[in-house]
Symmetry: C2
Subunit: 501 residues, 2 copies
């Protein structure tokens, strides 16, 4: 068991006056952020939050959310970071499964929360509104101690939907975050003057890890509530942003907005994850001198685990790179071309799923996490990811798991069988489409989509619904999704083609 | 138990072609250094070295020594790094106490080794000579695996003489080195282009830690066999050295040699440890824009544990700074001025002394290491070290422990009592002088020094010997060393004043 000083407390003791956070033109130093976090910790304590209490966060990328995430660490409470874009039914399932006792929500989630409270009474609900103006009148916080951090303890739970379609909570320990941050620093370098722009959601591991690295490194975060290419580029030019995390669709919009300009030399890392970056986009970025670092990461690895340095960006085009220093990557059960399942190991890898022993048994072997993704490693040790999880659909940076959508389709009484795949889409990268076998010829594509919309976030609802007599399945009955591509067109160009098939 | 990939193996997989080591104009890449280390590991394995074998190193700062230190990690063997300046009697004691089975020695140590072998037969002795030309004909090394590193396991033992005067071996785990390296990177920053100059001995923790950080960070080491101010300055100017570790006496000579020049901006860290740096020297460095980082560290903390960033160098003149991120510092048993014993805690602190349970009990309390040094912490959290260990004499960067010298003096049959203190010396910083009470008036200072020279390294032999009728002692009989300063002159200027007192 390794312990170390409380992270934000120690950071504040070491460099109280350094800039910690910028949002809409306002700056917080580490000392100010710590006061803000302690104020939130007092609020949480007053409603009974203590060590190991599960506190769900339904947050936007706002300063209070940064303070909240750190506030939990003062109490030893476990943050359950929920995707606020989920449907009420999905949220209710996750709140229950994670044993959540307290929910802190953004005022903009009010309608969702009203519906959730009726389904899920008896818990504590806190709206973030009264705390939105940080430091206006700092409450008394002298009594709250900053407990040392036991690295084996749990910082938070973060949901990921397994290929089974049933969401499961990834346990992330402080050690996972610490090792991830150190692995990243070794690879990307580290300067006390670094400023990382967070325009990815804080409830994703890509966003959360930015906050934690900031405190460990003593570097600043420039926070944006959502992604806007023009605002991001302005920040890069005017606020001396040194790094940011993007997905491919964001990178494309940034380059379009950039036009003929070139980024200033202060921008040293454009970390591109959330799925492979199209080669044409990499080339366009390279031509403009953008310091793109392709990366492969999972919630289970506390963000990046494999990253391609820019000096290899052209020679190893399409590769995700090599493992971070503390981690290892191998291909499990490779075929004769060397293609197989990507396995990762290292102290940044989750200890397991919350209360899912069966998933743990399936996913872990001898310390290796079997990611479910397919790929290969070339003779120089560079990883190529062929499928971001076997059939995962990444739509505008969000994960859509076919099995989850299929299981919702199958709940319709007139649907006998269903298969979901992703098809290319100019704006979103991929969108899900469904192929269904129906018992009732009167069922329309619109009916099927309306059914899904009651249970799934909008981005998970199939864009098109196709009808078939039967679906391709193995002798043992497993759906062969790749054969569904023979049934549907391989690409939909633009939103205009949105009429049902 | 945390494991991670083998350090040099992983570094070589990640960045095989990056520069790893420079010595006298020759460069080794990480891939070449790894071949060199594996070749040494084969040699060691051939003489029976295996997991947990204690292998003593009597080395100079030469490339083979770098390869050797890494070679031990391939076998899981424990390096016992010996100070080659010690007398034969001292070395024999340490070899025996540390259960050393194999000794690898530099050809220049041949005479010492001849004497040691006669006292200490039955072990294996390897001269480094045949391996001095690295990579000339790399042996077959395919079979040697690179075992994962269990961070709790022991990397090495390093002797430090306690105030009792009896040397004790500090156990340094891989975790100690890992956390030290990460704490340093967080504080000083880290760039893949960094180049650290090692002109301090590799058998000291300040030198060893440079080698290990290089592999963890993927950055180069420029190795000098000893300190020469002119050569060091040339390397800073011509080899783009970005950082180096110095003690005060080295810093003074560097500035003298620098003259009116200014260091290039590529030099970003001059880490000054091994005892407080005189204020006049700090001011001289500051005036020349030298990026001095004062630091406080111990063998027991795997090098730095408290470091002062340069932006505080003038405002906090004389302070050692604040703890590294993973560490904590407090003052134990402070008096009413806040002065007390410096205690440190953190994952970079040694698990203890090798087979010295009594020392462990004395030195550790609730995870804190009681350093024996005196100091205080100001209201902003900056540490001031008043005595580098209560009575420790640092002479030219080497530690001289008065109690050890006193115990040797007392072995002379005509010496009834003895006390040793350090006095200022223009070249060496401090030198030891002795005050003795003798039973035989015929005993000369030369006799006393000759007696010491048979049992102690030259730098530990008292420069002057004074005679007294009695020594100041407490009622309980403890020597009050500070009162010895009333007996001897407070300073000796230069080597010319070397005649006996």
């Amino acid at each position: 068991m390794t312990t170390m000083p409380h992270w934000l407390w120690q950071r504040t003791r070491l460099t109280p006056d350094r800039p910690a956070l910028e949002f809409s033109g306002r700056w917080w130093s580490f000392a100010e952020l710590e006061r803000f976090a302690r104020a939130w910790a007092e609020v949480l304590r007053s409603v009974g939050v203590k060590r190991e209490t599960k506190v769900a966060l339904l947050i936007r990328n706002q300063p209070y959310a940064v303070a909240l995430i750190h506030a939990l660490t003062y109490l030893g409470a476990v943050g359950v970071l929920l995707n606020r874009r989920l449907a009420v039914g999905e949220l209710a399932f996750q709140l229950g499964e994670a044993d959540v006792e307290v929910v802190v929500y953004d005022p903009s989630q009010d309608d969702q929360v009203k519906a959730l409270r009726s389904r899920w009474p008896g818990r504590t609900w806190l709206c973030a509104e009264p705390q939105l103006t940080a430091g206006a009148s700092p409450p008394k916080t002298g009594e709250l101690s900053a407990p040392p951090i036991n690295l084996d303890s749990t910082q938070g739970l973060m949901y990921t939907s397994g290929t089974s379609g049933r969401p499961k909570a990834v346990i992330l320990s402080y050690a996972n975050h610490w090792w991830s941050a150190m692995g990243s620093a070794i690879n990307l370098g580290l300067s006390p003057d670094d400023r990382w722009l967070a325009c990815v959601p804080l409830y994703h591991v890509s966003g959360l890890s930015i906050l934690l690295r900031s405190v460990l490194y003593g570097t600043a975060v420039v926070l944006h509530d959502g992604f806007d290419a023009s605002r991001v580029n302005t920040a890069i030019f005017e606020q001396r942003v040194t790094g940011l995390s993007v997905v491919a669709v964001m990178l494309r919009e940034l380059l379009e907005n950039l036009g003929d300009r070139r980024y200033p030399p202060s921008l040293r890392v454009m970390l591109a994850g959330g799925g492979p970056v199209p080669p044409t986009l990499l080339e366009a970025g390279q031509a403009r001198g953008v310091p793109i670092y392709q990366t492969y990461g999972l919630t289970e690895t506390a963000s990046q685990v494999v990253t391609l340095p820019p000096e290899y960006a052209l020679r190893k085009l399409g590769s995700a790179g090599k493992p971070l220093f503390p981690a290892e990557v191998r291909i499990g059960l490779a075929d004769d071309q060397g293609v197989g399942e990507i396995w990762v190991r290292g102290p940044n890898v989750t200890p397991g799923y919350y209360r899912r022993e069966e998933e743990d048994r399936r996913a872990f072997a001898d310390g290796w996490l079997k990611t479910g993704d397919l790929g290969y490693i070339d003779e120089e040790g560079f990883l190529y990811v062929l499928d971001r999880r076997r059939d995962l659909i990444i739509s505008g940076g969000e994960n859509v798991y076919p099995a989850e959508v299929e299981s919702v389709l199958m709940t319709h009484p007139a649907v006998r069988d269903a298969g979901v795949i992703g098809v290319n889409h100019a704006r979103w990268g991929k969108v899900p489409v469904a192929v269904v076998v129906v018992a009732d010829d009167g069922l329309s594509a619109a009916d099927v989509k309306a059914h899904c919309a009651t249970q799934l976030a909008g981005y998970k609802v199939p864009r098109k619904v196709y009808f078939a007599d039967r679906l391709p399945r193995t002798a043992s009955g497993k759906l062969i999704r790749r054969l569904l591509h023979d049934i549907v067109p391989s690409a939909m160009e633009g939103d205009g083609a949105d009429a049902d098939g």
